[in-house]
Symmetry: D2
């Protein structure tokens, strides 16, 4: 079942051109939990050779959205999130692991840890917290 | 002088492979203020045809960093930021305008507004607030 | 009309025991905008003689809620907010000024500046950004 | 040793007039971890009979600061934090549990969970994430 969820989730990811540009893959997906991997390559770095903060924030944003969406079971959007960068990220891949803290009918609050990994070694490089909403629920559109 | 700052800032932007991948350009840069533009193209969208949240968070993150860096006058890093998505973004380009709220010796708190624009029309689609630090100052490295 | 809004708002504030404990007063209230004042006294300080961060976060939280509520026109709750402390706060009173950035049908994103003031002089000591929701809309309750 | 830390931490808490006003107590304190309790009473509520958001944000702010301070080992200040309110809080007491995620030389990023409790029963009502800094390190003062 979780494998089916991974396939379904990966299909959603593949339908996001920006996620395709970044090469993101869903490596685990279960109700309320997700693991998203971004293989690192030169194009994703900043001027000091570390992963650009924008890539970390992309990974956190998307992992939070998938975690929240898995529980709300409907099309969702990220209402917003906070990210703290902890250490410069470098290695073979980024791993963003997000989980729901509390899910309601129309909204879920989730947390995400972003790791940089090389082979079996990984270290935490950013932490995030965000709010996911069902599309149309509580939207800020006029 | 401001033109020189734009050139210098653009050179820094051009040294960030991820900013080159996204095609970001610095259109204004003065002490404590910056305007960064990301021309929109299909690769930057999500599955509903809107700009991916990760692109908005990239633009906010980078604009915050440049705004903070312009005042601290030294290599800086973004310690963290919060972003709230207000409306789905679509159009010809994203415009991220960031300004310093307060700058100290080693840290600056900045705000950023992200607009989606088509021709002369633009609308606000996200707001962010973040903290920029001098590299090595107050870092969270063990 | 704005005076009527101030009276109505002050009545709501007076119905919050914690706001009464802190002595908060509404000094301006118009659609999408609010000014809340907390007279400073020894009980609101921390160990270094500055205003306790919890008082600043109370003021920001409540001002954000009133600003958002004025536009949504229904009972609201604060979904969450981010606050950055800029300078130690001391003086005769805290002034929290909040305004809506964007309001939708069920949610509003607001920003707040918190000042410390003595007589006519004031300085910015914290900035906040938060999300206000109609009660029951998008709530995170199971 | 942890008992000594609790005594020392409680002494700091007792030196904060605002914490005394709120009746906060330190119930656990170890390197990188803290538990702070606020006994609930009528004065800490809002107009619907729930705990005022300002009390939750106070508890989160202070617990984050103590957690960070325990690792940095020097006088610290909270640079800023984000809080998401999950459920209306009511009961006999609030319990804020904070822990360090990563601590560096001058800064620590911490997370905090805030629970409402009655007797042995408790439920999560807010989650927070914040940054604690050594006083003077990276401060935003001009």
């Amino acid at each position: 079942m979780s494998e089916t969820m991974v396939s379904l989730g990966q299909a959603v990811l593949d339908s996001q051109p920006f996620s395709v540009l970044l090469g993101a893959r869903l490596t685990a997906f279960a109700p309320g939990q997700v693991e998203l991997v971004v293989p690192l390559r030169a194009e994703l770095l900043q001027q000091h050779g570390f992963v650009h903060g924008g890539v970390l924030s992309y990974a956190a944003d998307n992992a939070l959205t998938f975690a929240g969406g898995s529980a709300l079971g409907k099309p969702v959007v990220t209402a917003g999130f906070t990210i703290n960068y902890l250490k410069p990220a470098q290695g073979e891949r980024l791993i963003a692991r997000a989980a729901i803290v509390v899910a309601g009918k129309r909204q879920a609050v989730c947390r995400c840890d972003v790791f940089a990994a090389t082979g079996p070694d990984e270290y935490l490089c950013a932490v995030a917290q965000g709010t996911i909403m069902m599309m149309g629920a509580g939207d800020a559109d006029a």
